[in-house]
């Protein structure tokens, strides 16, 4: 291995194309950090909104300062903003574009993304999209109330509810911008992985994180294009007088819509098909990078090769592929042909197989490995636990006859919050603790580590809070309680009895949610404190084998275009810890001979 190039910050800043400090920098690490910051803002807002929803459900009479009482339409606007922010601006943006930009090029031994300026454009388009979304709060009539799934005609007819006028238009505009930005970002990711791998980085030597990002980018490319088409159709229904989704004879608020929507006979189900063709791959876009990261972190701290590495690659691709074929399981009771229900049920059950294979691989990897319990490892283990807990209810909901009872109850809320939101968040937390040195490194000095003590407090608080909040939702769901209700108390008739029964459990869930949110304070403190005062990480603090920890690589890619003298080569697959009995021995991908600590 040749010597590290001597860093020369002054010289590196002279480069015209790589100005890491500039707001409109094309440097992939800067863009990655910008995406992470954006996602942090989004997750903070989304969390506060969810807390407001919980508080309102439990204490409906309380008045929100500076706002007044939370009206039903306010509650539904909270639902919409919470879902949209979390799904798009946190779970799609942070793992795929935040950590993807920050880490992916280094992990494949590239010096940057394939199209740096396109990358910058994607980020600013995403930011614009979020600003447009948040501006919908101030629209006359308030924010849109039709949820992140925006089923028409509720979303297609402005008079169908408060917030469905300009609020809904802004939501549509925001998602259109987001679709474009994400498509651009996935083109960038795909081209980077295909074209920019360094010498020796064959496909089956790619770390599983890269496979996760690659598969998720493939899915984004297909799925967001379809969402874009659906959004265009919905926009035409709202403003061009078409009737793609509005059926003939639709009477909203006593007003016949036929005159406004031509003489067409649209079908709301068409939107459901298009939306869920996007929507289901979307959840895999959110979770696949997390799965990849969990695999690598488990392997690293267990000092073991990921068990059955090639099968892990295959299951990643298989999950991605099957993910395209299962959208109908969101529509078992939506008016789909019952035979189609069976077909989608089978394809959905099939996806349990590669998912189970992944869990088995994880279990086999850490079985009797006596891992090192760093915070990143704890969160990766938490990911496995939450993925299993949330995943096991998947096959239940995939059976149409059971969905006939459980659809749109809190059982579903519990399912997707555990497997997508919580497991996704645990993936992000693990990534933050693991890659914090990469986040904080500058041209002048290596990065910092986060505090392990605070990290442990954060982990235990979060996993307890997550289970305390979402496990009881299974129970209220089994009791038959539906979701999206702005109010669970004071409902007349027999429904009032049904709703009153799980009320105590709902109160418990709210306390769980408050605890879960409070458990994030150590994380924020840790983040701020470690940014300035964290221990300097040094080279390769986790004794990792993947390329992002290659000494000097980071400094090299900050330097002037012609200056790096080092050739980047890869000699082996990742997670080569060689001697199972001696955790100190390991073989990074960039070293041709063995290294002992």
């Amino acid at each position: 291995m040749s010597a590290n190039p001597t860093p020369n910050p002054a010289q590196s800043r002279s480069s015209a194309t790589q100005k890491p400090r500039s707001l409109f920098s094309a440097d992939h690490r800067t863009i990655g950090r910008q995406y992470l910051l954006l996602a942090l803002v989004a997750v903070a807002v989304g969390t506060v909104l969810s807390l407001l929803m919980r508080l309102h459900l439990t204490w409906p009479d309380r008045v929100l300062p500076f706002h007044g009482p939370i009206l039903p339409e306010d509650y539904l606007a909270l639902v919409t903003f919470h879902g949209t922010l979390m799904v798009f601006f946190v779970l799609t943006t942070a793992p795929q574009n935040g950590f993807g930009n920050l880490i992916l090029p280094s992990q494949i031994g590239a010096r940057g993304m394939a199209f740096p300026r396109l990358n910058c454009a994607s980020f600013w388009l995403t930011t614009l999209s979020m600003m447009v979304l948040l501006s919908a709060t101030f629209a006359p009539g308030g924010g849109p109330i039709s949820g992140w799934t925006a089923y028409p005609p509720l979303s297609a007819v402005a008079s169908a509810g408060p917030g469905q006028g300009m609020g809904m238009d802004l939501w549509l505009a925001s998602l259109t911008l987001f679709s474009l930005a994400t498509t651009m970002a996935s083109v960038n990711t795909l081209t980077t992985v295909v074209r920019m791998r360094c010498d020796g980085m064959t496909w089956n030597r790619l770390p599983l994180t890269v496979w996760g990002w690659f598969t998720a980018a493939l899915l984004s490319l297909l799925a967001f294009s379809v969402l874009l088409a659906a959004l265009v159709l919905l926009f035409c229904d709202r403003h061009a007088g078409t009737s793609f989704f509005v059926p003939m004879g639709d009477v909203v608020n006593g007003v016949l819509q036929d005159a406004k929507h031509g003489s067409g006979n649209g079908s709301p189900l068409l939107w459901l098909h298009l939306f869920w063709f996007f929507g289901h791959p979307e959840v895999y876009i959110a979770i696949l990078p997390g799965m990849g990261l969990t695999s690598m972190v488990l392997a690293n701290f267990a000092r073991r090769r990921i068990f059955n590495y090639n099968l892990m690659i295959a299951t990643t691709l298989l999950i991605g592929f099957l993910g395209i074929l299962v959208w109908g399981h969101h529509m078992f009771v939506a008016g789909l042909n019952p035979f189609a229900g069976t077909a989608f049920s089978i394809s959905t059950m099939a996806i349990a197989i590669p998912s189970s294979a992944k869990v088995l691989s994880w279990l086999a990897t850490i079985w009797r490995s006596r891992p090192e319990y760093r915070t990143a490892m704890l969160f990766a283990l938490g990911f496995v636990s939450l993925f299993v807990t949330g995943g096991l209810t998947g096959p239940i909901l995939a059976q149409p006859i059971l969905d006939q009872y459980l659809h749109n109850t809190f059982f579903v809320v519990a399912h997707f919050h555990l497997i997508m939101a919580m497991a996704g968040a645990f993936g992000l937390f693990s990534a933050t603790y693991y890659w914090f040195p990469q986040i904080t490194a500058t041209a002048a000095r290596p990065g910092r580590l986060m505090s392990e003590g605070l990290g442990r407090v954060h982990f235990w608080g979060t996993i307890l809070g997550a289970y305390a909040t979402f496990l009881p939702m299974h129970i209220t769901g089994l009791e038959g309680e539906p979701r999206h209700y702005a109010q669970l108390t004071g409902i007349p008739g027999q429904a009032g009895h049904l709703m009153a029964k799980p009320m105590l459990m709902q109160t418990h869930i709210t306390y769980g949610a408050i605890f879960l949110v409070l458990a994030q304070i150590p994380f924020l403190v840790n983040l701020v404190w470690s940014f300035r005062n964290g221990r300097l990480a040094g080279e390769n603090p986790w004794a990792a084998t993947t390329m992002e920890w290659k000494p000097g690589l980071f400094l090299a890619d900050l330097a002037d275009e012609t200056s790096p003298e080092e050739t980047i080569s890869v000699y082996r697959g990742p997670c080569d810890y060689r001697d199972g009995n001696n955790p100190a021995t390991f073989h990074p991908q960039w070293v041709s001979e063995s290294v002992a600590e």
Partner: protein, 255 residues
């Protein structure tokens, strides 16, 4: 509120089949419940098993993993899971087919369910067993014509429109679900029923209520700001009481 009622042990007069489920009052319900409980036990068991393996694996002394034993650790459990999931799928599809593939009993009671923001309306065809014509432009809940019944149509003369769904015990029912404005979700937890009502479509749903009582009809598809208060009651009564109710409704309509 007693501990029993929140813990799902349910000592209340309405008997829960277990696992916090509300009582079951339909003919297809028990089979559905059995399958659901089986699924929940399996999921719970697997959950416990995985966490046990995880904990034991983490606590046990470090040891290298032999290649062969490891392979068995993946392929065998996976084979077992494949069989398990195939079994569950087959059973679920059999139940689904029984509930949805076939049409209703020819003798089933016909009721039309209409959802609109934010109420359910139920229309009985009357003695001629034929529903009268409806027109979207006639929809006017304030004028007592929520479903848009065309008064000029002969078949619609004896149609009865009610705000509650009353059904005779033990007789198959064929519901035709319609929505006037946006998508609504017709759900009766105690009947283990859920089906969206989609504007522009008429969707059939059939079942047989078996236990008399009053049950909640909910809307389970986000339909606007009043979604949470879009409910109605389902009253399952004895056949005699049903006839009496129909007669009283009819005389009320005639006046």
């Amino acid at each position: 509120m007693t501990f029993a009622s929140i813990s799902g042990l349910s000592l209340s007069p309405q008997l829960s089949p277990g696992w916090f489920l509300p009582m079951d009052a339909s003919s297809h319900g028990p089979a559905l419940d059995r399958h659901l409980l089986l699924n929940l036990w399996i999921a719970g068991g697997l959950l416990a098993l995985v966490h046990l393996v995880l904990l034991v694996g983490l606590l046990a002394r470090r040891k290298g993993l032999g290649k062969r034993s490891a392979r068995a650790a993946e392929i065998l459990p996976l084979g077992f899971l494949v069989l398990l999931f195939v079994g569950l799928t087959v059973q679920a599809e059999i139940l689904w087919a029984a509930a949805r593939y076939t049409g209703p009993d020819p003798a089933a009671l016909q009721v039309e369910v209409t959802g609109m923001q934010f109420a359910w309306y139920f229309r009985y065809p009357g003695e001629d067993a034929r529903f009268g014509r409806t027109e979207p432009k006639l929809v006017a809940p304030a004028e007592g014509n929520p479903v848009g019944l065309d008064r000029g149509d002969e078949a619609g003369r004896d149609d009865l429109v009610a705000a509650e769904l009353v059904l005779p015990e033990g007789r198959p029912v064929d519901l035709r679900l319609r929505a006037v404005d946006v998508i609504h979700g017709f759900a009766v937890p105690e009947m283990r029923l859920k089906q969206n009502a989609v504007p522009g479509q008429t969707i059939h749903l059939h079942f047989t209520p078996t236990v008399a009582g009053t049950y909640a009809i909910l809307c389970t598809q986000l339909c606007g700001s009043g979604h949470y208060r879009m409910q109605a009651n389902l009253r399952v009564v004895s056949p005699d009481d049903f006839e009496k109710w129909l007669a009283s409704k009819r005389s009320g309509a005639a006046q």
